[in-house]
Structures are given as structure tokens and as C-alpha cells.
Amino acid sequence: MKRYWNIFYNGIIPSNPVFVLLLGMCATLGTTSSAYNGLMMGIATAAVLICSNVVISLIKSLVPDKVRIPAFIVIIASFVTILQLAVNAWLPALNASLGIFIPLIVVNCILLGRAEAFASKNSLFASFLDGAGCGIGFTFALVLLGGTREILGTGKIFGLTIFPEDYGMLLFVLAPGAFLALGYLIAIVNKIRKTC
């Protein structure tokens, strides 16, 4: 039981995909202009991560080692395309706000990284937990970064006004602000991780 909890918890804080492993930076920096966008991107990535981890764990003994990377990529890409079609069909508003970043989930290193490092070597249930943990860790990081940028840039959080928009630092909504905010958040998270 303890082992399973550790697998799940590992992806959330000790090896958080964004703050500790620094994987998937493209999507992280690109979609976190607001807390809501970060949350939605996190959920979308987590869904694909759980599905791909489970399927890859299921077929791991049927995939010869030399072709495992293309096989994993095909599986991940299929889930991303399914997600994109589903979002297009039933959540058009989400499609409008995330746009190009949904297909880009395919090249998010976390997915292939977890498939290669974990799902291809572990049991179905452990892989599911690993996917869920990393997905939650990724979502948590994106919401934190998106929220920080939104509040500094526009004075809002999840669209709720905290202070008037005129006092916001526009820089944080733009790309350079994403790098700045991410750098400071990594520093803070690592400081907290070391002290406790």
C-alpha cells in the first residue's frame, strides 16, 4: 500500500514534471497566460498521460525493444487526436482558448518520459497511479504558474478581479513574463522542498 502511495505521490511533489524534472516546458510556458487555461491544459495532459500509461503498460511485453519509441508515440498521438476531436465536438469554448496547444501534447516530454521510464516496466495499476500522480503534479504546476501570471499581469484570478487591471504588469501575460514567473516559482518550490 505504502509503495503505491509513493508511486502516486512521487509525481506530485518529489519529481513534479514542471518544477523538478523541467519537462514539457513548451506547453507550460505557452498555455499559462491565465489560471483557467493552465487548469484546462493540465487536465487534458493528465487524461492523455493516464490513458497512454495504462495502454503502454498493458502491451509492454508485445512491443520489441527496438521499436518501442515509435510504438509509444503512435499510442500517445492517437489519444491526443481523440482528445482533440472530442474537445472540438463537445467543448468548443475550450478549443478556442487552448487551440494549437492540444495537438502539441503529443510532443510533451512527460508523456514519452513516463511511458519509457515507468509504464514500459511496471504493472497496470502502478502505471495508472504514476500517470495520475504526474498528471496532477503537472496540472498543479500549470495552475500555480497560470495564476501567478494572471494575478501579476491583469489583477485577476480565474477571472475574478483582485485589483484593477490598469495596475497589472502586462509583461507577465507575455512570453518573457512566463520565463520570469517560472524561474522564481521553481526557486521557491525547491526551497520549500529542501526545508521540509
Partner: protein, 198 residues
């Protein structure tokens, strides 16, 4: 279960099965999402026409008229009430935005006054250019285009000489592209009027 050895037949078989299964799954998902996606697009378009055009009793989509302004296709959806032309919704786009295509549904009264607009598609910078939907209807300063007629008001940003519309702060390129679409849509509407009276 022991892992399959990396022999050529094994690799071909394994990858082949995975790609065929993925392909079949994708085909199935595509077939069930195709209809909702098409419905969404059609509903969005219909709603946009109804929102921006003056009240009408015809079917603007059946009466649509296609034209080209500076090489860009524009579609006029004329609004008739009691057989009289009361205005139109004009769908058009611009490639001169900051990122990708901007598509706008512009609504005009019979005399060409802007009644309303809907941004149907854009990929501008989040938080800046994406503000075009609320910005150009904001009554503050000279931001709003609503109630203005491109014949008497210059639909250029105030930064450019002679412009009479305030562009979005820090998103002048997006603003220019939006106003360009409005100007061209107005021209498309005028062309439709001329074409009809001939």
C-alpha cells in the same frame, strides 16, 4: 510474459498491429464526432448572423452572396424584412494579424452603419490581441466601432494618420487587422447592394 525479441518479423508485426488498431480507433472516433463538429460550426455561424444583423424574416444563409475584396473571400448574408433590404451580416477575414487568420462576422444596417460584430476565429496573443471582442464595443474613448459608419468615420487606428478608432493597447497589429476586415466587409456589403440594384 517474456518480452518479444527484436527480430524483423516481430517488429513489423508489432508496429503494424499497433498502427492498425490506432487507425481503426481514430476512424471510429472521427465518425462519431464528425456530426457534432459540423453542427457546432453551423450553429455558431447561424447564431453569429442572427446576433449581428438587423432583425430579418428571410434565410440569410440561403441568400448568401460571395465576393472577393483584395483577393480575400467575403460572404454577404443579406437581411431582408418584408422584402426590403435592412442590412447584412458579412463574414470576412484578414491574414495581417499578429498570429494567423482573423475571421469576423460584421453586421451592418441598410446604410452601412456597423450594428454589431462577432470575432469567429483568431489566434492573437492571449490577454492582448484576444481582447478585440470586448474592446471594439467598449464605449470608452473612441474604441467602439458600433454605431459608426465606415463611409463617414475613418476605420483606421488613431496611431495611423487620419484614423478615428482607438486600437487595443499593446496590440496595434491585431487592431489594424480587425479594422481592415471591417473596412473590407463594408465594401463587400456595398458591392452586394450595387450588384443587386443592377
Amino acid at each position: 510474459m517474456k518480452k518479444l525479441a527484436s527480430t524483423l518479423p516481430n517488429m513489423i508485426l508489432s508496429l503494424g498491429i499497433i498502427t492498425i488498431a490506432s487507425g481503426a480507433l481514430l476512424g471510429w472516433v472521427y465518425s462519431i464526432t464528425k456530426e457534432p463538429i459540423a453542427l457546432q460550426a453551423a450553429a455558431q455561424q447561424q447564431a453569429a448572423i442572427a446576433e449581428v444583423a438587423p432583425a430579418f424574416d428571410n434565410n440569410p444563409e440561403a441568400d448568401k452572396w460571395e465576393t472577393e475584396i483584395n483577393g480575400v473571400p467575403f460572404t454577404v448574408y443579406p437581411a431582408y424584412d418584408d422584402g426590403k433590404l435592412v442590412g447584412a451580416a458579412v463574414k470576412g477575414s484578414s491574414m495581417n494579424g499578429f498570429a494567423g487568420e482573423i475571421t469576423v462576422m460584421c453586421g451592418f444596417e441598410a446604410d452601412g452603419t456597423v450594428k454589431d460584430y462577432r470575432v469567429l476565429q483568431q489566434a492573437e496573443t492571449p490577454g492582448l490581441g484576444t481582447k478585440m471582442e470586448p474592446w471594439f464595443r467598449d464605449p470608452a474613448g473612441a474604441r467602439s466601432v458600433i454605431g459608426k459608419n465606415p463611409a463617414s468615420t475613418s476605420f483606421f487606428v488613431t496611431k495611423d494618420s487620419g484614423g478615428e478608432i482607438d486600437g487595443i493597447t499593446a496590440a496595434t497589429i491585431s487592431s489594424r487587422a480587425f479594422l481592415e476586415t471591417m473596412r473590407n466587409a463594408y465594401e463587400a456589403y456595398r458591392n452586394y447592394e450595387k450588384n443587386k440594384s443592377n
